[in-house]
Amino acid sequence: MPEYRDQELADSAELVGEIVRSVANRWRFRAEAGRLGQHPLDETLRLVQSLEAAARALEGKGGPAGAGRLDGDDDRFRHLVDSVSDYAIFLLTREGNVASWNTGAERIKGYRAEEVLGKHFSIFLPKEDVEGGKPERELAIAVRDGRYTEEGWRVRKSGQRFWAHVTITALRNAEGRLTGFVKVTRDVDDLRKTTEALRQSEERFRLMVEAVRDYAIFMLDPEGRIASWNVGAQRLKGYSADEIIGKHFSIFYPEEERRREHPQYELARAKAEGRYEEEGWRLRKDGSRFWANVVITAIFDAEKRHLGFTKVTRDFTEAKRLREAQLAIELRDEFLSIAGHELRTPLTALLMQLQSLARFGQIEDARVQQRLEKTVASAMRLETLIAQMLDVSRITAGRLELETEQVGLDALVREVVDRFSELAAESRCEVDLRLEPVQGCWDRLRLEQVVTNLVSNAIKYGRGRPIEIETRRDGADAMLRVTDHGLGIAPEDRQRIFQRFERSRRTREYSGFGLGLWITRSIVEASGGTIAVESQPGRGATFTVRLPPALEETDAQA
C-alpha cells in the first residue's frame, strides 16, 4: 500500500490543493468547451467535482494553522488520489525517489506500488534522456521555478513509449525548506496521435492544393495580401511563390480596375456575403491579359473572426472565345434567315410584275420580249439562291421541318424531268428513264428538291452526254439513281462535295453557292436515308439515294 508521509503532506496541502484545482479547472474548461475527445462527459464531470472537493479540503488545511488537523480529511484525500485513474499522481522525495503511487500511476506506467516505491523516477524516462541528465534538470527547474511542465516521451514498464503531459511541483514546508515533489503524469498518446493524424491530413490537403495545375488556388490575408501560392497560380499568372507572397492581389488587375478600386470591392462583397464570383480580365506577370473566372471565399474561424480569403482563378479565355464564336454563328444564321425573308418579298413582287408584263404587255419588239424573258430568268435564279440561303439557315438551326404524305417516287421523277425537258434538249442530254413504281411516305416538296438538284447537276456537268435516271425497290428501301457521263468527281472530292460551300475543284467555273448537295444530303438524312456518289473522273458520276419507306416514327400510334 502507498506510504504517505503525513507531516510533509500536511505542510504542502495548500500547494497540492492548488494543483488539484488546476487539474479540475482544466477539465471543467474542456468539458464546457466541448473538447473532451473520447472522454465521456458525465464521468469527466464527476471527476471534476471530486477534484474540486479535494482541492477545497486541501486549501482549508494550508499554512501553519492547518498543520495539525489532518486526521479524517487526509484519509479521504488519500483515498481520492488513490482512485484517480486518468492521472498518475505520486510523490517524489527530494532526491527523486518514488514515495507514493496511485491507481492512475499503476494504470499508465504499468508498475505496481511495491515494485516502484523507493525507485528513482528516472526509470519512467527514455534511456537517452536519463543519460543526458534530464531527470536532474527537471527537478532543478521545479526547485528553481516551483514547477516543471512538459510534454514528452515517457516509458512504461513494458518498455513501450507514450507521449505524456508531465507536471512536477516542488513541495516546501512552512519554513520554505524543500520536502519533495508531486508529479502528475497524463497519458496524452491518443491526443498526440489524433493531432498528428490531423496535421498529416492538413499537410496532404496542402500538398494537393499546391499540386493543382489548372486552377490558381491561393490565400489572401484580410487586407488582400497573398499568403499562399500553388502550381496552378504560378502557371496561370507567371509569378513564383517567392516573388508574389506578401504582395497585394490587386497586382493581377488591369490599371482601370485598380483605379476604380474593384479588388477592394470584391473583398468587401466576399466578406459581407461569404462568397463573390465574377468573370473579367486579369493580368499575367508578363502583362498579357486573360479572361478569368474568379471565386473569392471569405474564411472565418470558430469564433467568427475573419482570417482572410481563398481565391480560385481559372483561365476562361478559350471558353469565352468559344462562346463568342457560337454567338457569332447564331447571329449569322439569324441574319441569313431575316435577310432571306426580307429579300424574298420584293423579289416576289418583281417576278410577278415581270411575268405579267411579259404575258399581258403589248410588246411588239421581239428584242424587248426576249430581254424581258432573260430578266425573268435572272430573277428566278436569284429566287433559287435566296431559297437555298433560307434552307441553310433552317438546317443549321435544326429547323428543317418535314411534312410527310404518300408520294410515288417514280411519278415525282417524271414530273421533275418534264420540267427539265427543255433544258435537257438545249444541253443535248438524252434522258433515259428506268422507273419502277416506288411508293413511300415522304415530304413531297423536299423530295422534289432532292430530285431537282440531282437532275439539274447531271445536266449541268454532263452536257452533251446521255443521263440515266432509275427508281426501284431495294429491299424495304426506295432507291433513286442519277447517272451522268460528264466530268466526274476526283476521289479526293467525293466527300467534300456534300459539305457546305464546297464544289468539286473541276467545277469552279460553274456559279452557285456550292450548297445544293449539302442541302440535298441534309434532306435525305433528315428523311432517314443516305446519299452516296461513285465516279470515274472523266467518265461521269452516279448519285445513289436510299430512302426508308417512311421516317421512323417515335410515336407508335403515328
Partner: protein, 123 residues
Amino acid sequence: MPKREGTILVVDDDPDIRDALRDTLQDAGYAVAEVTGGGEALTWLRSHPAPALILLDWNMTPMNAPQFMLEFCREKPFSHVPVVLITADMHVNQKLRSGPYRGYISKPVDLDALFDVISRLAG
C-alpha cells in the same frame, strides 16, 4: 382583256406585293380592291358588296390570316366568299387546316397557278 364579273379583294401588308397582284389581276381583266390587313379587310367587307374572291396573305400584323378567318366566318353577309391563302412557306397543309380556305398560292407566285385558282373559284 374582257371585263370580268365581281371584284377580287387583295389583303396583304406589303405594298409591292399588293401592287404586283393588282396590276397582274387588272391586266387579266379583274376588278381589284386592296387593303393592308385583316382589320381593314373586315371594314371593307362590311361596307361593300361581297367580292368574288379574297386573296389573303398569311403573315400580317396586327391581324394575321387565322385571326381574320375567325372574325370573317361569323359575318353571314360575306362568309360565303371563297378565301385563297398566299404564303411564302413551303408547307401549307397545316396552315390550310386552320380555317375554311378554298385554295392557296405559294410565293413566289406562279402566274398559271394563280389564274387556275381564280378561274376555278371566281370564274
